[in-house]
Amino acid sequence: MSEPVKKRAGLFDLRYVLALLFAVYGVVLTVMGIAFTSQAGLDKAAGININLWAGLVMLAVGIVFALWARLRPIVVPAGTEPADDATGAGES
């Protein structure tokens, strides 16, 4: 907190959070779609089992985020690269 030296803690990878969100939502919805969606629920959605389909798509999205995070991990720049007021406006 109060260290005088500016450290770059490197924020955690959001893609894993998104993967977790979609994995949990995907599993819940898929299970709902397979076993617990009433006929009334199916009729609402014009006969589409929207829970099942949405669940499967969300599972896939969750896996994509996890894979993306795995294959292209965040590279924490070495040293104090863009640290504070880098004067050259054009530099990265």
Partner: protein, 577 residues
């Protein structure tokens, strides 16, 4: 926020009047999905806290965010619930012309921000939009803008909070005060802990949850009406002005201007140029997301990357709106009566009716989460930009200067709490005077149009004087308010959204005229103080971004991204012509 606000003037009252027939049949599973979302939201706040070690970390994420994150947060900060309610309502009422709020009313401005203005913002290393005004025009314009922005954001946060509580009350039956305090506490928790990083990460997550709500609604809805052709047939059968609702241009039903040529001018100049450029390029709640990017290249790409989902997502907004107006019996009856029936629903209930009628338990929980997430992110965007402007632009600039950085970090956390408390108070007041609060929100929209005029002149005309900056802003805003009051009090009448377009256009023109006149009789700043702030005095090299390493590749070039999204919007315009 702005465009939603134009529409949302009646949201408060209407919801109070509506019966309980919108109550959703939420089951345990739905609450589990909502609860899990809250856990992740707070978890992000707690995790983000570890990376906050300076005020720059807290207010600007330490300028460390990758472009895809800031890009999604950029549109997410705007894709709040007010926008979703307002734009699905526009879809139900006006049909296809709703797309103008996106393809004309957002995309060109976002491209302009990324290609032309961002080099000045990011390159000058300012920490806020008002700070740019301070450097360019000095204290007068700075104080006008910082104060109006801070007040507007904290009140908007309150309005958002109140709207959220009304929606939860309507959908789930929770008492108003429970929702107000619970949601304010959650937003407060993660914004004080993790600062802008937590707000931005949550905005990205919110974006995906909103898509997870809208996409199934659109698909199920389209299936139910028999696809796009079925929808066209039903709209044609139900409306005498079906042609206007099924074609984007000239959009006379949206503007309230019968003459097609004037209607197009109103859309292109009023909405597409003045309102939209004003909002997207000068509203700090938006620009802040780009300033948190980790490099000049990422900052320029922020609005450009955001522009792609922005272009496409309108399809998931106006199509469900149109579908609701033909398959929901209540809404269809309301529309057939020309908006005069009092059967307990209005256009503002469009999205709720669809969720209620189309989604079974399970997806219902995702949809409720999407709505709640949209409200909370809207409030968080206001709070996280308010605390930055208050701390850097008001407190540090005018009240307590030259303290160590930790002091301002503490002030930032403290003022976040104060801001949330004021928002809660505002929300309760809004419960008493909902029409006043909604009107205020529309009013704040008018701050942006003259601001854009001042920025445009200021960035490209080095002669423009500090005095002109301040006077122009005040006169411009006053003109917009005057036109709006005249329109409301019936001196002249523009139905639809035309009034807002005209008010903003007048504000823009007045700002330019007054700024030029004042400049001619006052003293400009010396050139040496304007380097990096004015186009002609800034070395071209310092506006460039690096194109090596992780900024390499043709698909990361801002110009390519910008032209690409303009082409996409143009093609979609032709398809829905």
């Amino acid at each position: 926020m702005l465009f939603g606000a134009v529409r949302c003037v009646e949201v408060g009252l209407v919801h109070v009047l509506a019966d309980a027939n919108l109550r959703l049949d939420a089951g345990p599973v739905d609450y589990v999905l909502l609860g899990f979302y809250f856990v992740l939201v707070l978890g992000i706040g707690a995790l983000a806290r570890r990376s906050v070690s300076s005020s720059l970390d807290f207010f600007l994420s330490g300028r460390s965010m990758p472009a895809w994150v800031t890009g999604l947060a950029f549109i997410s900060a705007n894709l709040g619930a007010v926008e979703i309610f307002g734009m699905t309502a526009n879809g139900a009422q006006y049909g296809v012309p709703t797309v103008h709020y996106y393809w004309i009313g957002a995309i060109p401005a976002m491209v302009f921000l990324g290609l032309v203005m961002m080099p000045f913002y990011y390159g000058s290393k300012v920490r806020s939009v008002p700070e740019f005004l301070l450097r360019r025009f000095g204290r007068f314009a700075h104080l006008v803008n910082s104060l109006s922005f801070a007040v507007a954001q904290v009140l908007i946060a309150g309005v958002n909070l109140y709207a959220l509580a009304l929606t939860i009350n309507l959908l789930l039956g929770w008492p108003l005060w429970v929702s107000i305090i619970a949601s304010a506490a959650i937003v407060l928790a993660y914004t004080t802990l993790g600062g802008l990083s937590a707000a931005i990460y949550n905005e990205v997550m919110q974006f995906f949850v909103i898509v997870a709500m809208l996409l199934p609604l659109t698909i199920v809805g389209l299936y139910k009406v028999g696809g796009w052709n079925g929808l066209v047939a039903k709209v044609t059968a139900a409306n005498s002005d079906a042609a206007a609702q099924l074609h984007a241009w000239p959009g006379s039903n949206l503007t309230g201007i019968d003459n097609p040529v004037l209607s197009v001018i109103g859309l292109v100049f009023g909405l597409g140029f003045v309102l939209s450029f004003g909002y997207w390029t000068t509203n700090f709640a938006e620009v802040q997301r780009a300033l948190s990017a980790k490099s000049m290249s990422a900052a320029r790409r922020t609005p450009l990357i955001g522009a792609y989902p922005k272009t496409v997502i309108v399809l998931l907004i106006f199509i469900p709106g149109m579908i609701a107006a033909v398959i929901s019996p209540e809404l269809a009856a309301f529309k057939a009566s020309g908006g005069t029936a009092t059967n307990g629903v209005t256009y503002n209930d469009t999205i709720e009716l669809l969720i209620r009628d189309l989604l079974p338990n399970g997806m219902l929980g995702v949809a409720i989460t999407g709505l709640v997430a949209a409200f909370m992110a809207g409030m968080a965007a206001s709070v996280s930009s308010f605390n930055t402007v208050f701390t850097y632009d008001l407190w540090q600039t005018y009240v307590v200067k030259d303290k160590p950085d930790e002091y301002y970090l503490r002030v930032g956390r403290l003022i976040t709490i104060v801001g949330c408390l004021i928002a809660i108070g505002t929300a309760f007041i809004a419960g008493q005077f909902s029409n006043i609060m909604d009107y205020l929100q529309t009013l704040f929209g008018f701050f942006n149009a003259p601001l854009f005029a001042t920025f445009l002149l200021g960035m490209f005309w080095k002669r423009m004087t500090p005095m002109a900056g301040g006077v122009g802003l005040i006169v411009g805003t006053a003109s917009a308010v005057t036109v709006d009051v005249l329109n409301r009090s019936g001196v002249f009448t523009l139905s639809g959204q035309g009034g807002a377009f005209v008010a903003a256009s007048v504000a823009f023109i007045m700002d330019i005229v007054i700024s030029v006149l004042v400049t001619l009789v006052t003293a400009p700043k010396p050139d040496s103080e304007l380097v990096g702030l004015v186009w002609s005095l800034t070395p071209r090299d310092s506006l460039r971004h690096s194109d090596t390493g992780e900024n390499a590749g043709w698909y990361r070039k801002p110009v390519v991204l910008g032209v690409g999204v303009l082409v996409l919007a143009a093609v979609l315009n032709i398809i829905f012509w």
